[in-house]
C-alpha cells in the first residue's frame, strides 16, 4: 500500500514547481501553464485523500477544479490575445505601466 504521505509529498513538490514556474517565468502562457501544474497538485491531493478517506468529495471537487481550470484557460487566453493585440508581447515584465 502506498502511504498517503507519498501522494501528498508529490503534490507539494508539484505545487512548488508550479509556483516556481509561475513566479519566475516571464511568458504569460507558461505562467498559466504553471497554474495548471499547481491545480494538478491540488487535484492529486484531493483524489488521494478522497481515496484514503473512502469519500467521493475530493474527487468531485477535482472535477469542478478541472472545469474551472478549463474556463479559466479560456478567459486567460482570451486576455492574452487582447494583450498581444495591444502590446505585441506576452511578457509579464513588459506590462508594468501601472505601478507606484
Amino acid at each position: 500500500m502506498i502511504p498517503l504521505s507519498w501522494y501528498m509529498g508529490l503534490a507539494a513538490i508539484l505545487f512548488a514547481i508550479g509556483t516556481y514556474g509561475f513566479l519566475v517565468r516571464r511568458n504569460i502562457i507558461i505562467m498559466m501553464l504553471s497554474i495548471e501544474l499547481m491545480l494538478n497538485a491540488v487535484n492529486l491531493n484531493l483524489v488521494a485523500m478522497s481515496h484514503y478517506m473512502d469519500s467521493l468529495l475530493g474527487s468531485t471537487l477535482t472535477l469542478f477544479i478541472i472545469t474551472v481550470a478549463a474556463a479559466e484557460a479560456a478567459i486567460g487566453l482570451g486576455l492574452i490575445i487582447v494583450l498581444y493585440r495591444n502590446k505585441k508581447s506576452v511578457y509579464v515584465d513588459q506590462i508594468n505601466e501601472l505601478k507606484g
Binding site: 509561475f22 513566479l23 519566475v24 509579464v92 508594468n96 507606484g100
Partner: protein, 640 residues
C-alpha cells in the same frame, strides 16, 4: 457708607470717564471737570480728616468683589488716621497739579487726554489708600502704575517716552511679583485679605514657618519681605529704582504728582499700613533699613553729577523715599509717613518749579543751558529756594522736622542697621543740600548759558502756574510744624495722631541725643550748602577739577553706576537672546517643530519607498504574496 467718602475716589473716576470720552469735543475747556472734581475730593478729604480726628473712622464694605469658596474679598473703604493723612496729601497735591497743568500743558496735543489720565491717577491713588483690604490696595497699586505708564508715555510718539513708560510698568511688575506672592502667603495664613481681621489676629503668624523648595522660613519675615518687594518697585528702591529717572520723560506735572509726591510713596504707605506684620520680623526691618540706607546714598551720589534738572530731582526723590523707608525700617512708621507728608510738598514744589523753568526755557531741561534765571522768574526763584532749603533740612522748614525725626529714630532704634542708617542718612543730608543748591545755583545764578532766542522769550510763568507754586511753598514751610518734636518744644502731634494705626516708635532717643543728632544733621546740610556755594559760585572750576581728579567716581555717578547697562546686559539681552535663540529657534522650531513636521516627513519618505515595492511587475507581486502566505503558515504553525 458716608457719601463724602465715596465722592473722594469716584468723582475723579467720573471725571476720567467723562473727560476721556468727551474731552476731545471740549478741547481746551476739558480741564474744568477734572479740576472741579479733584477739588471737591480735596474738600471731602479735609472733611474726612476731621471726621477721623473726631473719632469717626470708617471701615465698610461696598460690595463683594470676588468670592470663591471660603474666600471673600470685598470692595470696601477704610478711613483711619493713616488714610486721612494720605487723602490730604493726594488730593491737595493733585489739585494743585491739576491747576498747574492748565498752564503747563497749554496747547499740547491731547490736552484732554492728559487731564483724563490725571483724573484716573487720582482715582487710582485714592483707591489705593482707601481700600480696606490688600486686594483693593493691589488694585490701586496697579492702577496707579497704569496711570503712570500712560502719563510717562504721554508723548508716545517719542520712542524714549514710550520706552520709559513700558520700563516703569515692567520694573514695577517685578516688585508686584513679590507683592502678590506676599498676598497669597497672607491669605494662606489668615484666610482673608482684609486688613482688620489680619491685623487683629496678627499673633497667629508670630511663630509660624513656611516651607518652600525644602527651605523653611519664618513666616512674618517671608510675608514682610515679599510685600516689601512690591514697595521697592513702586517706591523705586534699589535695585528696582531704574524706572523712576526714566519716568521723567513724562510731562513735568506728572513727575511732580506721581513720581514725587504720591504714587512713589505708595510703597512707604504699604509698609506703614502693614506695620503689624513688619514689626514681627526683625530681619525684615533690618533689610528695609539697609536697602533704604543704600538707596539713599546711591541716589544722592548720582544726583551730584546729573545735569538734567528733572533727573536731579528724580534721584533726589529716590533718595528721599529711601529716608522714608529708613524711618519705617527702624520701626518709626509715623516718622516715615511724616517725611512722606512733608516731602510731598517740597518735592512737588521742586518739580513744579522745574516745570515752570522748563516752560520758561521752552522745554530745555539741561542745566548747562540755564543760569541767571533769577531776574526773569522771581516767583519761581523764591519758591524753588524754599523747596531747596526745605529738602536740605534747614531748621524751621518742613524737611527739617521730618528728616531729623527719621535720623533720630534710626539712631535710637533697636534694629541692628539703625546706626548705619543714621550715619548714611546724615551723610546724605549733606549731599542733598549740596546737590539741591548746586542745581539751584546753576539755574538761577550766574550768566544765562542758553541761546539768545531762549533768552528773548524768558519770562515768568502765568498765574495758573505760579499760584500752585506759592501754595506749595507755604506747605513746604509749614507742613513740618504739624509734628514738631517734643525736644523742640512741640508736642509731637503727628506721632500721636497716627498712633492708633502705626503705634509707637520702637524706641525714642533721649532729648539730649536728639539735639546732638539734630545739630549734626543741620551741620551736614549747612556744609553741603556751603560747598555748593563755594564750588559753583566762588570757584566754578572746582567741580571740573574734582571730576578730572576722580574720573572713575565721576563717571560712575554720571552714568548712574551703569545700572541700566548692567540690567540690559545681564537681564534684558539674555532674556531676549534666550527667547529667540534657545526657546524659539532651538526648542520650538528646532526640536518640537522638527518632530512635528519630521514625523509626517518620515511617513512621507516611508510612503515613497513603500510605493517602490509596487513596481508594476506581477511576478514580484506574486513573490511577495507567496512570501506572505509562507509567513502566515509559519506564524500559525510556530505560534501553535
Amino acid at each position: 457708607m458716608p457719601t463724602y467718602l465715596l465722592l473722594i475716589p469716584f468723582l475723579p473716576l467720573l471725571s476720567f470717564v467723562f473727560t476721556f470720552l468727551f474731552g476731545k469735543r471740549l478741547g481746551v475747556q476739558s480741564h474744568w471737570v477734572p479740576i472741579v472734581s479733584v477739588l471737591i475730593s480735596f474738600f471731602c478729604a479735609l472733611y474726612a480728616f476731621f471726621q477721623v480726628k473726631n473719632g469717626h473712622g470708617v471701615n465698610q464694605d461696598l460690595y463683594t468683589w470676588i468670592s470663591s469658596g471660603t474666600m471673600t474679598i470685598a470692595v470696601g473703604f477704610l478711613l483711619d488716621e493713616l488714610t486721612s493723612v494720605m487723602l490730604i496729601v493726594v488730593t491737595s497735591v493733585s489739585s494743585l497739579v491739576h491747576i498747574y497743568s492748565v498752564g503747563y500743558m497749554k496747547g499740547e496735543a491731547g490736552y484732554y487726554r492728559f487731564f483724563s489720565y490725571l483724573s484716573l491717577f487720582t482715582f487710582s491713588m485714592l483707591m489705593l489708600v482707601l481700600g480696606n483690604n490688600f486686594l483693593q490696595l493691589f488694585f490701586g497699586w496697579e492702577a496707579v502704575g497704569l496711570s503712570s505708564y500712560l502719563l510717562i508715555g504721554y508723548y508716545y510718539d517719542k520712542k524714549s517716552a514710550a520706552d520709559a513708560g513700558k520700563k516703569a510698568f515692567i520694573v514695577n511688575r517685578f516688585g508686584d511679583f513679590g507683592f502678590i506672592l506676599g498676598l497669597f502667603l497672607i491669605y494662606s495664613a489668615f484666610g482673608t485679605l482684609h486688613y482688620e481681621p489680619i491685623f487683629a489676629h496678627i499673633d497667629i503668624i508670630a511663630n509660624q514657618t513656611f516651607s518652600i523648595f525644602g527651605n523653611t522660613y519664618y513666616l512674618p519675615t517671608a510675608i514682610a519681605l515679599l510685600l516689601f518687594c512690591g514697595a521697592m518697585g513702586k517706591s523705586a528702591q534699589l535695585p528696582l529704582h531704574v524706572w523712576l529717572p526714566d519716568a521723567m520723560e513724562g510731562p513735568t506735572p506728572v513727575s511732580a504728582l506721581i513720581h514725587a509726591a504720591t504714587m512713589v510713596t505708595a510703597g512707604v504707605f504699604l509698609v506703614a499700613r502693614c506695620n503689624p506684620i513688619f514689626s514681627l520680623s526683625m530681619t525684615a526691618l533690618n533689610v528695609i533699613t539697609i536697602i533704604g540706607a543704600i538707596t539713599c546714598l546711591f541716589a544722592a551720589t548720582i544726583a551730584l553729577t546729573q545735569t538734567d534738572i528733572k533727573r536731579v530731582v528724580a534721584y533726589s526723590t529716590v533718595s528721599q523715599l529711601a529716608y522714608m523707608f529708613i524711618g519705617c525700617g527702624v520701626g518709626a512708621y509715623s516718622a516715615g509717613i511724616f517725611h512722606l507728608f512733608t516731602h510731598a510738598f517740597f518735592k512737588a514744589l521742586l518739580f513744579l518749579g522745574c516745570g515752570s523753568i522748563i516752560l520758561g526755557m521752552h522745554h530745555e531741561q539741561d542745566v548747562k543751558y540755564m543760569g541767571g534765571l533769577k531776574k526773569y522768574m522771581p516767583i519761581t526763584y523764591w519758591t524753588f529756594l524754599i523747596a531747596s532749603l526745605s529738602i536740605s533740612g534747614v531748621p524751621g522748614l518742613a524737611g527739617f522736622f521730618s528728616k531729623d525725626e527719621i535720623l533720630a529714630m534710626a539712631f535710637a532704634s533697636p534694629v541692628p542697621a539703625g546706626k548705619f542708617a543714621w550715619f548714611i542718612g546724615t551723610l546724605v543730608a549733606g549731599m542733598t543740600a549740596f546737590y539741591s543748591f548746586r542745581l539751584f545755583i546753576l539755574i538761577f545764578h550766574g550768566e544765562f548759558r542758553g541761546t539768545d532766542e531762549q533768552k528773548a522769550h524768558l519770562k515768568e510763568s502765568p498765574k495758573v502756574v505760579t499760584v500752585p507754586l506759592i501754595l506749595l511753598a507755604i506747605g513746604a514751610v509749614t507742613a513740618g510744624h504739624l509734628g514738631v518734636p517734643t525736644v523742640l518744644g512741640g508736642d509731637a502731634n503727628w506721632g500721636h495722631y497716627l498712633e492708633p494705626v502705626l503705634g509707637h516708635a520702637m524706641a525714642h532717643p533721649s532729648h539730649f541725643t536728639e539735639i546732638i543728632l539734630m545739630i549734626i544733621s543741620v551741620g551736614a546740610g549747612a556744609f553741603g550748602i556751603f560747598l555748593a556755594w563755594k564750588w559753583y559760585v566762588k570757584e566754578p572750576e572746582m567741580p571740573k577739577t574734582i571730576a578730572e581728579r576722580f574720573p572713575a567716581l565721576y563717571n560712575l555717578s554720571l552714568n548712574k553706576y551703569y545700572i541700566d547697562e548692567i540690567y540690559d546686559f545681564a537681564l534684558v539681552k539674555p532674556a531676549l537672546s534666550i527667547s529667540r535663540n534657545v526657546i524659539l529657534n532651538f526648542f520650538d522650531i528646532g526640536l518640537i517643530e522638527k518632530v512635528v513636521n519630521g514625523i509626517p516627513k518620515l511617513i512621507g519618505r516611508a510612503s515613497g519607498s513603500m510605493r517602490k515595492v509596487q513596481d508594476g511587475l506581477v511576478s514580484h507581486y506574486l513573490a511577495y504574496m507567496c512570501g506572505g502566505a509562507v509567513f502566515i503558515i509559519l506564524w500559525m504553525v510556530v505560534g501553535a
